[in-house]
Symmetry: D2
Subunit: 348 residues, 4 copies
């Protein structure tokens, strides 16, 4: 039974609400007891009734999409930015100036430096000052700084799944070698809503393919930045994402070299120690995670194993790419930033 | 924003919680602010930790399945029965005697008479007295009697989808002829959790087949019983269910003869009049319903059309078979029976 | 064991080979022992190596797409037209003038009159003379005229499934009333290859929706034209197509009024009589057809039933929309037109 | 156009034809021009008409399943064994004694020694002499010995996908380190036809999970046996299979350490050199393989890449687990053993 608090409602805006992450935010924010959604933007659909665009999204009667520039008329406590990279960076400024906090679901506020951002996104960051104060929004590792941040860069879906599994093992120095191999499998909602040859049902169904393998995917940069904070040696990510025929869900199978005598039990103990007090990260001992466990939730399921003959460590990680990998984690960050109990509205 | 009431919690039990409807109940009851789940039964899994059976169902730490006979030790306000037909009928009695109310998700308390029950389920009803006081739990049509009922028979998934579309048209006397043809398409969760040749992934995927067509499916009886209450002539149901490759969701396409000069607009007006004040039934004017609109929710989406050349009326109805077709509607009934606002815990 | 004939190869062209029907033709023509594919056209991909466009289509090394106007340089015995409607009509002429026969997989040569064509496709038919000599390519009903035709209009996928079930019953005068209701379910390849919101994986998966219900779909005209040839009264088609989450396959559930005393057995007998000697149409007595039975084949599976209380007849029909509903039936027609045994290359 | 030879038909038996590989064999053998299927066995279905069990398998009118012991009455040239491991080993003997050749689609004749067999299957091999003469049926690597073998052990689906990618690179000494990591993704038909919790549609759909990760899957033994023949150092396989929601298809993503200065181009050149003359193995340079490319065929699609920063080599391999991974490769082996052109009946 959820505690019934006497909270003042907070006012929220969503910038860019016609994509999958915006839709998911709209859906789950209706379950949050202390919020009022004040505006919902879309450049293409400005003026359209929200109910005409999302006929199944109940509870938004009377809402219309507005254009970004119209948001100046609203006073909000926090804005979720679901904009293309480059645009989020720019729109953070006007909201910050109105004392709104920001959770950016894109990539613009995930990096520590404009140099690293430019390296992976090939853009000069338009707001390096804001970038320098922004916080990487992985609550299990950055909870305290998120609470007081004005801007949180919500982690990418792939990095969320991988970092939750690797960081405890790195911190406890169980990993060695020069690389980790990340073999990830993502549902199609991760590829975005724009119709394309790649996302046509007939192309995806009964199919599976790797893409952007090696160092080509931009999430490599984000993963290596965070990994570097917990390891005292250079560890490169070999990243091989795959598109699999399911709507939502993400599975990462991560392999790496472990130090001599590290056991599976030891790896599991380290993960348990890191997460047993966490509401959204779960370490499994006897079965392996499955994507379905995490569907439509903020949960991440982890397991670990060791192949002794080759001193290979394996971590298995399952999340919902739109859940812990995007909108639900964004709400978790919002709860921290606005002072709500961290699990509010995230029951699933 | 959900109203924050100062409600006393109510105590709930779930009898039969290892099937899909029991699992769905467990999931959504965690979002309900005024409940405490007291017991969860399974004859096969009695003693098992709930968390071992459902590793992904968070929030049930410490719960164990118990056997039905152990429930005598618990004092609850309401029990959800998710038992095979025949068993629900029997287990209602002991709970009623302890002053618990009952929502039966099976078929045992859906019929008005033991004769009709026997005709379709080939069983002598073991509790004809309780049957006679039980109420058919379609809230949009029986709201007031549900509020005071001790036993509610939660409607079948197919009948829910069909009756919501037909009853307003029958009541307003738009329909004629001797039959309605119900062509329904159901996801595989409707076929239950027991592994079988029929539910094997390889059999279902990239397949679609009709089954129990005509008058063979038991839901025909339930549909005709309710239809008869709103029509002054005999109207038989020709029912053709199909199994389609999706996990959850149910679509009914219903055709029938309409009176001369009945127009599509007239049909839509009648549906709007019936449901515009309802939180969970939505009439669409310009697009047709789709199953995905209703997924993981208590919503039903309806549309209507007319083929003038042949005086054929068409009703389209989409629900989630585990949502409005089972567990979510059961919670809607519970809200009415326990005096909660009808939408509590059903935001989606 | 296929008979080993000493056949001369025939020369074939495919006009419009980048869609699903063209691809399927390319695939199955490789299994045909007496053919040589001479040209493959695409206006968009002219010049592209076929192997670059279809990396998995083995056996076409050295082929390049050419533009339609380049086909004048080739001497072929038969051309498959897989062009948008309107274009097929025009391109038939130059091929006919070179003494090539035509199988048109589009709609341009399915109708008997330019008036009917215009009614459903809203175009003045550019070749009314050729239209008048063209033959409707349903081999089980028009075999003899197909053999000598210069132009065959390959039936639409929905009409193929429906007509194979209805025509025997109409011919034997079992059906009465003023309408048949056709509830069809089609895989997504039937919606074509162009990426769109409607065919995006996330939109289709775990979804199902009706579309163009009533008399809005163009296949209604084609069905009614053929139905009229076998019934001596006016019978309108109420057509309700649905898009279901599978790549290929089509299921039609057809309901209609039957004459008094018509039994299910009688309906089955009539179907058996019509098709027991046919290699590709199969009447099932004890189980209902399923889409998977027909996948990647030229087969159609039929069953029939009767609801006596309401005198409703039901026909169930399963085909592959790209098989008997398009490319495979086109090859069946080609076999007849070129004098090959009808089943050649169609084993599946 | 397939060459039209004047071949004598050969006589074939299928032992164990109710599973997925037996069904696939039945299907594709109908397309083979020089064969006559003499018997089809099933212990459970002995006496059943094949057409009742497989209503959609045309061309087997008159066939009935027989029990294995009844096969003594038939004189055949080759028998496909699709029996549980242990049983194949035993049944090879009586067929060999009648001068039939054997293609075993199970694991009993894949190993070189009874010791290795026992290590992975925990059984004393009942026919060590036959085992020692049996040949590992990977035609691209063992073509000549297959031609004259009496017994061919058809490779497992996972090993087929992996070995085709690795063996050329091992032979050319591009690989170093102590291990290869094989991350494989398999469709559900690979899990067999027995209904179980694991293969229930609702469990598989919208899900993905790893299983038997590390060294637990029996295919590890088969892979390491063959790898050892082409490497002069000990190379262990870390094998992580995943079940993905598709019916058929298998994808292996293989990572390993490469020698200094080995380039992606070098890896591709080595693969091209190995396979450019092969009809069924295709090396892709500019795009990555996808499972759909290989569906219902004997084709394997390969690609290779290198991450220079970490000296990691990656091989991508896509097959159909029932195609090149089972029944189609078995027919390829049969063609070699019976003296037919290797591609006969395998056009796709």
């Amino acid at each position: 039974m959820e505690p019934i608090l006497n909270k003042q409602p907070k006012f929220i805006g969503i910038a860019g609400a016609t994509g999958y992450t915006g839709e998911e935010l709209l859906r789950i924010l209706k379950r949050h007891p202390y919020l009022s959604v004040e505006f919902v933007t879309s450049e293409n659909e400005a003026g359209t009734a929200l109910h005409d665009y999302y006929p199944d999204l109940q509870g938004y009667a009377g809402y219309r999409f507005i254009a970004l520039e119209e948001t100046v008329n609203f006073k909000v406590d926090l804005v979720f930015l679901c904009l293309p990279h480059g645009q989020s960076a720019q729109w953070a400024r006007p909201f910050i100036q109105q004392n709104a906090k920001i959770v950016d679901l894109g990539a613009d506020y995930r990096f520590d430096t404009p140099e690293e951002y430019k390296k992976w996104y090939d853009l000069d960051h338009p707001e390096p000052d804001l970038l320098s104060e922004s916080v990487y929004g992985l609550p299990e590792w950055n909870r305290e700084v998120i609470k007081t941040a004005r801007i949180v860069g919500n982690p990418g879906c792939y990095p969320t799944s991988v970092l939750l599994g690797l960081l405890p093992l790195l911190k406890e120095k169980l990993i060695t070698g020069n690389s980790v191999v990340v073999d990830s499998k993502s549902g199609v909602s991760g590829a975005g809503k724009s119709p394309s040859k790649t996302t046509h049902y007939v192309q995806v169904n009964e199919n599976l393919t790797a893409y952007k393998a090696g160092r080509a995917h931009r999430h490599v940069g984000e993963m290596e930045q965070e990994i570097a904070k917990y390891s005292d040696f250079s560890l490169k990510v070999v990243f091989i994402p795959h598109l699999v025929p399911l709507t939502r869900g993400l599975y990462s199978t991560v392999t790496f070299q472990i130090h001599k005598d590290v056991t599976a039990q030891q790896m599991r103990d380290v993960l348990h120690q890191a997460y047993d007090a966490e509401p959204f990260v779960h370490v499994m001992d006897t079965i392996l995670p499955g994507i379905k466990m995490a569907t439509s939730s903020n949960h991440c399921f982890l397991a670990a194993d060791v192949v002794e003959e080759t001193r290979t460590g394996i971590v298995f990680s399952a999340i919902d790419n739109l859940g812990k990998g995007a909108a639900w984690q964004a709400v978790q960050n919002m709860n921290l930033m606005l002072g709500f109990p961290e699990e509010t509205g995230l029951n699933a």
